[in-house]
Every structure is written in structure tokens, then in C-alpha cells.
Amino acid sequence: MKLAEKEISGAALAPERKEVLSVQDLTVSVRSANGLTPLVSNLSFSISKGETLAIAGESGSGKSITSLAIMGLLPPPAVRVTGGKINLGEVELTKLPEAEMQRYRGDRIAMIFQEPMTSLNPIMTIGQQLTEALEAHEDLPRKEVQARVLEALRAVRISEPERRLRQYPHELSGGMRQRVMIAMAIALKPDVLIADEPTTALDVTVQREVLNLLRDLQAELGTAIILITHDMGVVAEMADRVIVMQSGRMVEEGSVDGIFRAPGRRYTQDLLAAVPRMGKGGHKRQSKPAEDFVACIDDLSVRFDIRSGLFGRVSHHVHAVHHVSFDIAAGETFAIVGESGCGKSTVAKTMVGLVPFQGDIDIAGCALGREGRDAPKSLRRDVQMIFQDPMASLDPRMKVGDLVAEPLVIHGIGSAQERAERVRYLFNRVGLSDDQIDRYPHEFSGGQRQRICIARSLALQPKLIIADESVSALDVTVQARVLDLLQALKEEFGIAFLFISHDMAVVENIADRVAVMYLGQIVETGSRAQVFGAPQHPYTRRLIEAVPVPDPSFKRPVEVRPSGEVPSPMRAVGDAPKAVKLREVSAGHLVAQ
């Protein structure tokens, strides 16, 4: 019966591009103390078979709420559709009772979520989850279900699909999990696939694979894709049409070429201007690094023990950082780039004494104790760290003014009066006002919180600030402003930055010198011009090529890519990885052999 329905709709669609989903005047509101507050107002759009529509916007613009509304998954009872219609073919979805809606959900409209780990059930095998998804909608004999599941896994080009069926989500890498999610979504060949930030949580090379996969699948199956993203690079590469949303309203709609070539609205222009672009960094003035170094890292290694067996003997080591050496000159921005698990954050943590290590770390002429934790207090004054998530790194029960003053209190600097003075100065310096000093962290937006963290790290006038993915969690426009602030502070105070990021475009815009890390080792290092202008190591090239280009006219060269899994940094005891040797290709430009 189901199949028959599909064939009919398929036949009807065949001749010309037909609308599969249309949304008219959609209003979604949340019930609050002051009555109904709209989250999405009067949104209208439609999408045809085989088309990709991107909904772009910053966090809080209502793009995810829209997708949940289409899926009928709005969190009850507070958030409801309060107006408008959502038509899937001939069916009006907003009027459907939950039981009816379940038939459409997954079958005709499917959704891929941002976080593949949390959207898969950790205690069910991949095979069980896929089977469950299929059986919920189609009454098929066991054998056939099995065949369909395998077919779906093959479609998403997972290696060894038969083995994956018996594996649990935690045994797969992030990219593989997202493939499983996609397999689950397309197993029933839905008319509409909603992808909510499908690649945001993934590394750039994995993102590339997933985007390619989505595009290929669309060509094969003719699915209409609604792509929800904040990344204009992804929009440019994937979408046919774009909707730009701001605070729940559609600001602009148009073809992808039109929007990128001639954005009509101010907001769209700002959004596009804020996107970090590869190749733009070269125009910036390269600051001349001073000759003295603030940090010298020599032959740094960090190993974590894995114990197993009855007596907890150390059987494996995770070689998180393996014989890494680099120097940071006073007043320069040194960036470490690499994908998740490459050890870049571990380097940052060792430098502030949070992790025990082997090798030598000299900061401002003072050697760091090896055991971590017991680093001398004076050293803490010279190095400060800004974490990735400003909300997590601020104690939610303290006022932000006290948080900023805390480093001064800990180091016994100044009287209460002087400290208050300094906090006010710092607040003004990072662009916050005096009256915000007595508030709590949750009363601020993400960008403001990161400014508070920056103010806090400046309090002790350090020589080096380590920024670990400090702008990754921010919206592009906010990110651009925070990066500008960091640049200005660097020039004003002569602070050196160690900038750790996975985002090649951001690094290209801010760094003076760059090191590329892979599996705990530096594979290429040099000035920004050297690394980005003439990348030598194949991994560096792969990283650079994988970055989405925010230009729809950009033609991506066809690539043959190795589809193997990233090797693991976990090795048996005695089987340490070989340390790579760096060869100098030009002055200051070192590449692994």
C-alpha cells in the first residue's frame, strides 16, 4: 500500500519540477509569562524535487525551530505552531494528530541532526537502529529488511557495511556516525531530507566527505534537501536557493548566485562580509616578530596510559603529543591547526600546567614543572588561557566582575579599590560597559561571554595568551568582531597568542606563523605565507582544499580521496609511533619527510 502511494506520487512528479513541500505564513510561538512570543514569524517557502534549499542565519534566528516545526517535533507544550500551513504534497502537516504524523516522519520527511553521537542510541547496534527505523514504517520480511539496511549503508559508502551492522555507535568515528545517520534518513527514500547543521560538529575533511555524499545521494534519489547551516561556505557549495533568516523572520530569499553576488539586504551583506575567507589573510600587515621568545617548547611528549586486564597493567599508550617542538616569539600569533584528536588542545593544556608531560617547556624564561598542577604561581601570571566554551569556563555562580577580578585576588595584586578600577578598565577595553560588572554569566550572549573571558585573561597582563578554539562556538559576525578585538589587543599590549583552531580560514586570517598537527606530531610549520601559499605536506593540502569556499562559482576539482579511517594514536606499549623528521624547504618552513 505504501509502495503504491509512492509510485503514484513519483509518477506525478516525473514530468516537471514539482513542489514537494511548501510552507506558508508559518508562525511558531513560545508560551512565556508575557503571553505568546513568536520564534518564527510569517515564514513562507517551498521546495521542489531534487532541489537544495539552504536556510542560513545566526544562532537564535529560528532556523532550527523551522525544521522542528516541519517534522512536528516542537517541544510541547510551550512551543507551538500558532499560524500558517505546512504542506507535504497534498497533506497539511500542522493539522495532523501525532499518530498520523508518525507515519510521515522518517518515511516522507527525514532529518539529520547536528550531533551524530547524541542522535544515535549508544546501547543499540547500528544494524538494530537501522532495522528499527525501517520496520517502523514498512512491513517487510526479515530478510528483505536486512538487505535494505545493507543497501542503505552501501549507499553512504561506509567501508565494510556487514561488520558495521554489529558495531555500536561509540566504535565509529564522527564521520562514520554521520554517515549512519544519513543512511537511516535515506533508507526509506524520503521526499524531503532536512539536514540541521549536518557537518558543524565534524572535522573539515570529514565535512567535505559528508557534503559530497549528500550531493551524490541527491542526484541519485532526487530528494529535496533543506540544509540548515550558519556556514556560508557550505551554503555556497551545496544550495540552489538560499533563505536568510534573522530573529525569526526571512530577511532575504534568492538563488545562491544572486545572494552571493548581490546581497540585497544589509544583514546578508554583513553576514557574508564576516565569513572568513581563505586567501584574504595575505593582505594583512605581517607583524614583525621580535627576536626574543616568550615560549620555547622542546621535544614535548604527552602520553596517556590505558590500563587493562585484571591488575590494571598499562597495556597501551595514547600518544596524544609526540616529540613536538616550536617557539613563540614575543608579540606574534602562532597558530596550531589540525583536526579533532590531533593533540592540539593537549599542547595548550600542558602549557598551562594542566597535564603532566615529558620534554621541556620554557615560558618567559622559566621552566615548567613536569608534573603539571604544581606550576609556579609566577608562571601562571605570564600565560593565560581562553577556552572554547565561554559558558563552561566561567563559574555560573559568580558575578562576572568578581570573575575578572579573581586572577588579581589569587595573585594578591592591588587593593580592592584598585582591583575594581582595573576590572572597569578591562570591561571597557573589551567593549563591555560598567553596569554589566554585577551581572552573572548567564545574563550575557555567547560573544559577550567570550569578551569576559578575554578580559579575565588580560587581568594579569600576561606575555602569552593561549586561545583554544576560542571563536569556534561563536556566530560568524560575532566571531569576526572577537577576532578583531584579539588583533587590537595584541597590537596594544604586545601579547603573543597561541591560537589553536580547526578552522583553516580563521587561522589564515589571524596567524603570523602556523603549525599543522596530525596524530600528535607537527607535519608542517612555517609562516602563514609559506604554509598557505606553498603547502608542502599532503595533509596540509588536504586540509586547505577541504575548506568550503563561500563562492558559488567556485568549481571544486574532482578528487580521489583515501577513504580509510584516520589511524589511532593509541599504540601498544613498546610500539611508539615513529617521530617524523622535519626538513627545511625554505627559511623557517619545515615539512615532515
Binding site: 593544556k349 598551562v352 600546567g353 594542566l354 598542577r373 604561581k377 601562571r380 601570571r381 600565560v383 593565560q384 588561557m385 577556552f387 566554551d389 563552561a392 569556563s393 566561567l394 563559574d395 555560573p396 555562580r397 559568580m398 558575578k399 579573581e406 586572577p407 589569587i410 595573585h411 554585577d438 552573572y440 548567564h442 579575565r456 594579569l460
Partner: protein, 297 residues
């Protein structure tokens, strides 16, 4: 500091202190009043009632020897021995408050110290402390209390100590788990990178986050400890008769529940009210101390 004209505005917008915000909550006020009544009743018992708690009055029994129900002379009635129930409840409040507040408080302090130390330092310190806690948990609390009470001469303070020794375990377990997860949070790592010492992290950044849990355990502990004391009294190793406590009034009279229900009802209601009162205050305190709840009052 502020410009002329600004002061009155800033005085208005200044967040009120925790105490005054507590006073603005009706439920908290109800709780505070109930606790005050119990406390004042215990302290001023001799002035509040014309009888003595252990007086077996001739007119306190009917001619058949049955207890008298609530009446004008005996407001809450009398018990089986012709003693005035109100007087016994008032004097009993002394014991029960001591048990519910002091014994429970000591238990909570031990639990917090053990749990937080073990959770924060981990390693062998945490290992030893938590294995000891597990041992205590596995041991039947009542049996332990009976053993302890049997070793020492029964007295009120021994009962307090016994109850404290058996009652800290659960709190320690819960606080241990919560501290381990707190210690892993990024803001604690951020504090370390600033050079904050262990004491500073423990007292300024970990304890404030544990306050809600500690308060919940504290209020839950009141009724548990009051009842544990009653159990001990019943077994003859708690507060020795004729000294009244809310628990032993109930246990003395529970067999006559059908004939003289007031003998169980009134002391039972007193325990309930006290636990409820601390609960209300605890709830309000938790909300008031949590800055993220601000504005939802």
C-alpha cells in the same frame, strides 16, 4: 563613584541581599515561623505549660484509667500514665530539635567533608574514604546504632553521636559523585590556569554549587533522624524514659492508636511540621542562592 543623580536609581536596581530576598518568599516565611515556634516552645516549655512532663496526674486519667482526649484542662489530652501531652510535646521538642538539627547537622558536615574531599582529590585519599563509606553503607544502620548505643551508657548526647555516625553515609556518596563531575568542569580547569589553589577552588567554586544538594539532604535528614531516634528509643537504647521525645511518644502509644488516636496524631504532626518547615526554608534558600534563578521569583 557614581555621577550625581544616579544613586537613587542604582539603589533601586541593586540586587537585594540574599536574606531580604528570602524574606520576600511567603513559603520561606511560613517555614521560618514554624521552626521558630518549635524552637521557642522547646526553650520556654516550663513557662508555657502549668504541668511538668513527667507528672502522672490523678485527674489525667478517667475513672476507668483511660487517657483523656483533648479538653480545656489538657489541651492535647493526656497519655496512658495521665501525663499532659502538650507538655510532653513541648519538652520533647528539646530532644527532637537536638536530634534533627544537631545530629543531622553533624552527619551532614561529616558527609560533606568526606564526599567533597574524596571527590576532589581522587587518588588514594578518595579511594580510602569512599571504600570506608561503602563499608558503612553496607552495614545495617540500625544494627550499628544498637551496637554503639549498647557500648556506651545511654544518654542524649550518645544518641546524637550515634545518629550522626550512621547518617552521614548517603550524603557523602551523593556529594562525592557530584564533586567528581564538578571537578571535571571547564571552569575549574580555568581556575587552575589562573593559579588558584585547592582551598580557593574548593570553597569558592565547588561548595557553592553543592549547596542545593546539601540543603536537600539536610531537610530530608531531619525526618529520618527524628524517626531513627524514635526507633532507638523504642528499642530502649535511645533517650531513656521518662524523658520525652516526639519519637518515643509515638512509640509508647502506638498500640493504643484506635482508642486514643491523639497520642500518635499530635507528635506525628509535630515531626511532619518540622520536616516541612525545614524543607520550605531549604527550597527557598536554594533558589535564592542560585543566581541563574534570579528574576523567576
Amino acid at each position: 563613584m557614581t555621577k550625581a543623580g544616579a544613586p537613587e536609581i542604582s539603589a533601586e536596581t541593586l540586587p537585594p541581599s540574599a536574606l531580604s530576598r528570602l524574606a520576600h518568599r511567603k513559603m520561606a516565611l511560613v517555614g521560618i515561623s514554624l521552626i521558630l515556634i518549635a524552637f521557642l516552645g522547646a526553650v520556654f516549655a516550663p513557662w508555657l505549660t502549668p504541668y511538668s512532663p513527667n507528672d502522672q496526674m490523678f485527674d489525667g486519667l478517667t475513672l476507668e484509667g483511660a487517657p483523656i482526649g483533648p479538653s480545656a484542662t489538657f489541651v492535647l489530652g493526656t497519655d496512658l500514665l495521665g501525663r499532659d501531652l502538650l507538655t510532653r510535646i513541648l519538652y520533647g521538642a528539646r530532644t527532637s530539635l537536638l536530634i534533627g538539627v544537631v545530629a543531622n547537622g553533624i552527619a551532614l558536615v561529616i558527609g560533606t567533608v568526606v564526599g567533597v574531599t574524596a571527590g576532589y582529590f581522587r587518588g588514594w585519599v578518595g579511594g580510602v574514604l569512599m571504600r570506608f563509606t561503602d563499608l558503612m553503607m553496607a552495614f545495617p544502620a540500625l544494627l550499628l546504632a544498637i551496637t554503639l548505643a549498647a557500648i556506651f551508657q545511654p544518654s542524649l548526647w550518645i544518641v546524637v553521636m550515634v545518629i550522626a555516625t550512621v547518617n552521614w553515609v548517603q550524603a557523602a556518596r551523593v556529594l562525592y559523585t557530584e564533586t567528581t563531575s564538578l571537578a571535571e568542569r571547564e571552569f575549574i580547569a580555568a581556575e587552575r590556569t589562573l593559579g588558584a589553589g585547592n582551598l580557593r577552588i574548593l570553597f569558592r567554586h565547588i561548595l557553592p554549587h553543592l549547596v542545593p544538594t546539601i540543603i536537600v539532604w539536610g531537610t530530608l535528614g531531619i525526618s529520618t533522624t527524628v524517626l531513627l531516634e524514635a526507633t532507638l528509643s523504642y528499642l530502649g537504647i535511645g533517650v531513656q524514659p521518662p524523658t520525652p521525645s516526639w519519637g518515643n511518644i509515638i512509640f509508647e502509644n502506638q498500640t493504643y492508636f484506635q482508642a486514643a488516636p491523639w497520642l500518635v496524631f499530635f507528635p506525628g504532626a509535630a515531626i511532619l511540621m518540622l520536616a516541612l518547615a525545614f524543607n520550605l526554608v531549604g527550597d527557598a534558600l536554594r533558589d535564592v542562592l542560585d543566581p541563574t534563578q534570579r528574576g523567576s521569583e
